[in-house]
């Protein structure tokens, strides 16, 4: 049993955690929920020994534990699996295990035998311990990392969004492992943004809001309304703005038409029309090719076959700025994280204005105001570096920056990854409003609820092929899941 009492942490005047007390029972999976900035990551940092709390105690099975450094934390049996996977990809599984052993000698011979039982416990018994970690799927790497923690006698496991970047099959693998760990009597604290995971694997939930404990309850007493209310402190009327009912033929002519397009990630040619005002979803498992139509239009993936017509003309490239593309990794290429927000937001317009000539910094600053207002980015945030913003605000910067260049097509990969529930509703609403103003939107997502709730038309990809296309209103979640995992609906 993990007991946290009166835990507080402040950074100067900022209170990241205030008097948080709760306990997590062994043998159960307890979800830790909260919006970005609610204090989850501070709590995780404290548990992993990276941050010292300002006040409060943490007990495991009644005895206080020493969490003053990461080494001491893991010696105390508290293991944190971070969001970024920290197993080394170019070493084998066995070598990764040996890295954290206290003995100074690497005994290769016994290493494989040593790690085998831990792998078996997590459902990785079929994997050879001498396999390089780089050859495993992301989900399997997560499990290797958990297995390594187990080998260090971890009794308390803190899993920080282990399924955030996983495909469905991997998610199942991780879920099974997590349930097994709990049934063995470990304490499991499970952080997630995916609310559907609560019903699937969690027994209880603890919700933080603004650094305080907002609610704690067993899952069987929970309703979605209670969870969301605890997280954002108010009722959320509708996560999705609602799909307008209209006649397909009433839409304007397509701004972009893909005709028989194939890329290295699309095996058989696909057709796709993007119309102003319409929101189209592409979905599939990771690696199934569902992001390829976006990348083909954006010019990131070269075409191996077919043509793309813009406004009825075949052109290798349309006017710069007509196409706005946000990849699934906004930290990597979505903005300039160390520069103030306005720099990122003014950048596309600046790039379109060419290389030569003068430009006034204060005018650049002013130029983003309309767009920043539209994206509801508070004026106080506009002078801050992007890395100081929450996931939701950072995503608003990543999308909003394109609006200064007046694009006609908006391409978004995983539009709400790492964005909390309150900000998600806001982003959906903003995007819907942009579509109403005549933008054609195509998004790619692995989140089925998002695909069905936010997309008007859905394209399903499986094994690098487009296998199904339908209006979202004509698909159920189960049907969609079957299409995605099997590439078809089995007839019974």
């Amino acid at each position: 049993m993990l007991e946290i009492s009166d835990l507080s942490k402040s950074y100067g005047p900022v209170h990241a955690l205030t008097d948080v007390s709760f306990s997590v029972e062994a043998g159960k999976v307890t979800a830790l929920l909260g919006e970005n900035g609610a204090g989850k990551s501070t709590l995780v940092k404290i548990l992993s020994g990276l941050v010292t709390p300002s006040a409060g105690t943490i007990r495991v099975n009644g005895a206080p534990v020493d969490l003053s450094s990461p080494e001491r934390a893991s010696r105390s049996g508290v293991a944190v699996v971070q969001q970024e996977i920290s197993v080394l990809a170019n070493l084998s599984i066995a070598e990764n295990f040996m890295l954290t052993q206290p003995s100074g000698w690497l005994r290769r011979g016994s290493a494989a035998a040593f790690c085998k039982p831990y792998l078996e416990r997590l459902g990785l018994g079929h994997v050879d311990p001498d396999t390089p970690v780089g050859a495993l799927t992301i989900g399997e790497r997560q499990l290797v990392e958990i297995a390594r923690m187990l080998s260090q006698n971890a009794r308390v496991l803190v899993l920080d969004e282990p399924t955030a970047a996983l495909a469905d099959t991997d998610i199942d693998l991780v879920h099974k492992a997590v349930l097994r760990l709990a049934s063995e009597g470990n304490v499991v604290l499970y952080i997630t943004h995916r609310l559907n995971e609560l019903e699937e694997i969690c027994d209880a939930a603890v919700v933080l809001r603004n650094g305080r404990l907002a609610d704690a309850f067993p899952i069987k007493e929970a309703s979605m309304a209670r969870i969301v209310h605890a997280m954002i402190g108010r009722e959320l009327d509708e996560l999705y703005p609602g799909v307008p009912t209209r006649d397909q033929s009433a839409l304007p002519a397509p701004v972009a038409r893909l005709k028989g397009v194939a890329t290295r990630g699309i095996a058989s040619p696909i057709d796709l029309d993007l119309r102003p005002g319409e929101i189209v979803a592409a979905c599939g498992q990771l690696g199934s090719g569902f992001v390829e139509p976006l990348r083909a239009i954006a010019g990131v993936s070269p075409l191996t076959a077919g043509t793309i017509e813009f406004d009825g003309h075949t052109a290798r490239r349309v006017a710069q700025g007509d196409i706005a593309y946000c990849s699934d990794d906004r930290q990597l290429d979505g903005f300039f994280r160390d520069l103030p927000v306005w720099e990122s937001m003014s950048a596309p317009a600046l790039a379109q204005s060419g290389l030569w000539g003068l430009v006034s910094p204060s005018r650049l600053r002013q130029s983003v105001e309309v767009v920043a207002d539209r994206m509801t980015i508070l004026p106080a945030y506009r002078e801050r570096p992007v890395h100081a913003l929450s996931g939701g605000n950072a995503q608003k910067v990543s999308i909003g920056k394109w609006l200064s260049g007046k694009p006609r097509i908006l391409l978004l990969e995983e539009p709400t990854r790492g964005v909390d529930v309150g900000a998600r509703a806001e982003i959906y609403r903003l995007l819907r409003a942009l579509a109403e103003d005549g933008l054609a939107i195509l998004f790619a997502s692995t989140d089925l609820d998002e695909v069905l709730g936010f997309g008007e038309r859905v394209q399903v990809f499986h094994a690098n092929r487009l296998v199904h296309e339908a209006p979202s209103a004509q698909l159920t979640r189960d049907q969609l899941a079957t299409w995605i995992t099997h590439g078809g609906i089995e007839r019974e």
């Binding site: 710069q320 990849s327 979505g334 300039f336 950048a347 600046l350 003068l358 006034s360 910094p361």
Partner: protein, 323 residues
Amino acid sequence: MSAKQQGANGAQGMGRIWLKRLGPFLPIIALAVIASLTVDGFGTTPNLIAVVQASAITGIAAIGTAAITISGKFVSLAIEQQAVTAAYVFAATVSAGQPVVLAFALAFAVAIVLGLVQGYLVSRGLNPIVTTLAFGSALFGTVVMLADNRTITLSPNPIAWLGGGTTFGVPNQAIIFIILLVLGSLFLARTRLGRQMVLTGANPKAADLIGVPTRRIIMIAFVAAALTAALVGILVVGQVSQAKSDMFRGLTIDVVAAILVGGIAIQGGEGQLWRAGFGAIVLTMLGNIMLLLGIDAGVRDLLKGLLAAAVLLSMKLLKARNP
């Protein structure tokens, strides 16, 4: 956040921004004041002019090289070789009886070509350190071979006024240096090219997706560095009336040190061009003070190295505290 709190934070923020902006000036001002009070001969006008004059060569080259740093490609390690090349091209053209204007044009044309070649290679993904190291070595070998390792002496020297002359008592080299400092600081803040150069250094992938021509910008940065190195080469020819192969020994390291001491983030996307020139002044002033104090050459180098390390460390600590 309440309005009051926000106001307080804003004021604090402004104070911090000013401290950050003035930060690099404080040690130099303190150093100058202390030195002029305690070191005999430091505070005299001729000595101060000598300091600016002595920092001009390093400083001019550093301003151009800083463009490479800011666009995210670290530094060029071929500065001294490019300066030597320009010195030889210029001196050889003049001593062949050609007009001075042609000599200038040739030296700069060669510099542009050298900059484009390095910039092209680096913009296609080659490591800038390795590329410029190899390039500098090959270039130096070629120049020494072509010149037969001779010293070309110019008599009369048609640009003695430029390299060694003064205007109203201020050395012309120092005037060029100051002009470039001013232009350099305006460039990054107020030109489209300059701002896009910062974006390129801050996140090349994001800049690329947005439509910033990152490859062209990197090539332009290398051309800027090559041009300032060539200018330095010509100025020194004007000063000493000759071109020889070892005339710029150690310049590259001085330039890199000036960029670092000036506080330009080595990972790119931050800093202003003037800081490089400013770093050159700090380093020269330190050397000057130690010289006046009669400190040995070995100790001078040791202290210079320690200073560069101290500046890097303090920048790192400042960053860690105000992320």
